[in-house]
Amino acid sequence: MTLDAGICSNGHVSYPTHPLCPECGEPQEETVDLSDRTAEVVTWTHSTATPPGVREPNTLAIVEFDITDLDEASDEFVRALGQVTTDEVETGDTVEPVYVEELRDPEAGIKVPESQDWGGYRWDPV
């Protein structure tokens, strides 16, 4: 499994990927796998009023991956949103991505289950 960010020919990086780079409009022809990297928590919440099929509480965090070591990238960081493996998390914590087959029950919500994938990465504080 990979946590793919998109990268364009000008080195702009985004997660998730887009057909055209949101920064410059060039195609995002390559991807960068972030799954082996750690990230830092920018902000988080315990969401308690969750929709059908979603765990409660649902602890969510926006995290930032440092990508200054990536030669092909001109951006210094890329952010991602995800569930947190635990309810104990603080701003500034270092987390690593952990793959989960099903982040919520695809059958319980309004969306057609086949219309998208439901697996993804949670953030696990290290």
Binding site: T45, P51, N58, L60, W118
Partner: protein, 383 residues
């Protein structure tokens, strides 16, 4: 061509027995009466609504309403821009008159939501997010929680400042007979209410609401013939920010608010200092701060001070949400932006009753998603 607003109406907001058809026709009919316009004279009809199909199974509501109001064969269209559908409707209505395509345009916004459980309604609204956000169970309130935490931590703002927004808007709502809640709340009540997406609590969020609101637009020329009491749409702007919320450069800057208000000020030839009153989209208390900063009333990271000082209260320097805001008036998605327009129109023509402030220039900012799409409208009183 100058565009004028000559009539306004809104139904009672709250938990209503009526379904979408009745809500829309009630506001539409009252607006025709208020404007003194015959159904025959309506050339364009816009219906702002986010999700009548998902909530109720009723689609094609522009046709339904056009027939029910007897405005046939007027051009009709449903306008969806999620929570900013109402503002987008103002934009469409303004465009229709400004372009010369229509001399008389009726805008009706409405939503029927309360028959769904909170979870179901939250899910319908959360379906506006990117699939990679949705699969994590993200909700609009959870974006608000994460943004509020970042704002408070980064700008060293007190948690209390958010509660002050809720207390103020509930206070304003007491004077609005159409509001869902006409009830004051205390700081203690706001700060001790259940956590929804910490640091935000129940009283940091607007309720789920049924309701409808309407506005009548015409040319400045026709307005002069019809009435002495009208307002002019002197500036309007609309803009779109990233769909994926975490992709924004700065989580505390709402790019759509900045861009749309810049357009509106430029068109009107005005600046933030010229505003006398404003309606901001307080779906969450934190949004009042982000919009005050986005429309240039406060510097980044300082709008919380205005709440603490009382500068945004009804008797303050710049009254914000005299209607009670989404917080106490309620938030029937497609109706909200239109209802903001109704409030600033009533303030400008002197029909706001106990909510009346001294105002010649007013702004409304309607936010879709979590700042994903934004419409800013500036109206001025006719001379």
């Amino acid at each position: 061509m100058g565009v004028a607003v000559i009539g306004a109406s809104m139904t009672k907001f709250g938990q209503r027995d009526a379904w979408i058809r009745e809500l829309l026709s009630q506001a539409g009919e009252e607006c025709l009466t208020d404007a003194g316009v015959a159904p025959d004279d309506v050339e364009h009809l816009y219906v702002s609504n986010m999700a009548s199909g998902e909530f109720e199974g009723q689609t094609g509501i522009m046709n339904l309403l056009a027939h029910d109001l007897g405005v046939l064969p007027a051009y009709s269209e449903r306008v969806d821009q999620t929570s900013s559908s109402g503002g987008a409707g103002i934009y469409e209505a303004w465009q229709s008159v400004a372009s010369g395509a229509s001399e008389m345009t009726l805008l009706v916004g409405g939503e029927k939501m309360t028959h769904k459980t909170t979870g179901q309604a939250t899910d319908i609204i959360a379906s506006i997010t990117h699939p990679d956000e949705y699969k994590h169970g993200v909700t609009l309130p959870s974006f608000a929680g994460m943004t509020a935490r970042h704002y408070l931590e980064r700008f060293d703002a007190p948690r209390e400042s958010l509660a002050r927004v809720a207390v103020k808007n509930h206070r304003n709502g007491v004077d609005n007979p159409k509001a869902q809640f006409q009830k004051e709340i205390t700081m203690e009540k706001a700060l001790e209410s259940p956590i929804i997406a910490d640091p935000l609590r129940l009283y940091d969020f607007c309720p789920i609401t049924d309701g409808s609101a309407a506005l009548m637009f015409t040319t400045e020329e026709r307005a002069k013939e019809i009435t002495d009491e009208y307002a002019l749409v002197s500036g309007i702007g609309g803009a779109t920010d990233t769909h994926v919320v975490h992709e924004r450069d700065d989580p505390t800057i709402m790019g759509g608010v900045v861009e749309s208000s810049k357009q509106a000020y430029e068109m009107a030839g005005l600046s933030p200092d010229d505003l006398d009153v404003a309606e901001l989209h307080d779906m969450f208390t934190i949004l009042e701060f982000l919009q005050l900063e986005g429309i240039g009333v406060a510097e980044q990271g300082t709008a919380w001070e205005l709440a603490m000082d009382g500068a945004t209260a009804k008797d303050g320097d710049l009254p914000i949400n005299t209607s009670g805001g989404l917080k106490s008036k309620g938030h029937p998605l497609g109706a909200s932006g239109v209802a903001q327009g109704v409030e600033i129109y009533e303030q400008l023509v002197g029909e706001a009753g106990p909510r009346q402030v001294d105002a010649d220039t007013a702004l409304a900012c309607n936010v879709g998603g979590f700042g994903n799409c934004v419409i800013t409208t500036i109206m001025e009183a006719a001379e």
